[in-house]
Amino acid sequence: MITNEDFSIDELVRGMKKPEIGAIVTFLGVVRADAGLKGLNVEIYEEMAEQELRRLERAAREQFEIEAVEIVHRAGSLKVGENIVVILVGAKHRKEAFQACEYLIDELKKRVPIWKKELEE
């Protein structure tokens, strides 16, 4: 899901919990204070990004034994320390949850039409 708003990991975790889920792995991407960086502007081709995110989720579900996926990516200008993206994967066991979560963030960085532009001092 694409949004300008920040998100709450607690809420996302609560929304994901199901009796059959024994492991939830979360990846949180945050704006890092690189030299001279004031923040980031995140631009997103929304219609295509939503579609690519759905495709990514389907691919992860086919490859890994997982129960649930949540992906939220923010757009707009973000300051150092602010949340950029969160990916949660729920599975029966931790191994699949870790593997699927890493797969999702790696593929997101390759395929989803999003661009981050550094905002200098």
Partner: protein, 79 residues
């Protein structure tokens, strides 16, 4: 026939436009369209280009249709 072209990130900055309607020949392929773009906007030559069709990555020999939405953008950098 007409198609809609959307420019993103570095490509939008270089071209100076966000959306543009273009008249192209019937049956034009995606590769021909990219060549047309590069002649019309030579400054795009210095950007590594990706062109999607109707929200999908498409092969270069794919044929364009009336009212297609094409998007022109540099390599993605999300996450």
């Amino acid at each position: 026939m007409k198609v809609e072209v959307r420019f993103f990130a570095r490509c939008r900055e270089v071209v100076g436009e966000k959306v543009k309607e273009l008249e192209v020949e019937e049956g034009m392929k995606l590769q021909d369209f990219i060549d047309l773009l590069l002649t019309r906007y030579p400054e795009l030559r210095k950007v590594r280009l990706i062109v999607s069709r109707n929200h999908n990555y498409a092969p270069l020999d794919e044929e364009l249709k009336e009212d297609d939405e094409l998007a022109v953008f540099p390599p993605v950098s999300g996450g």
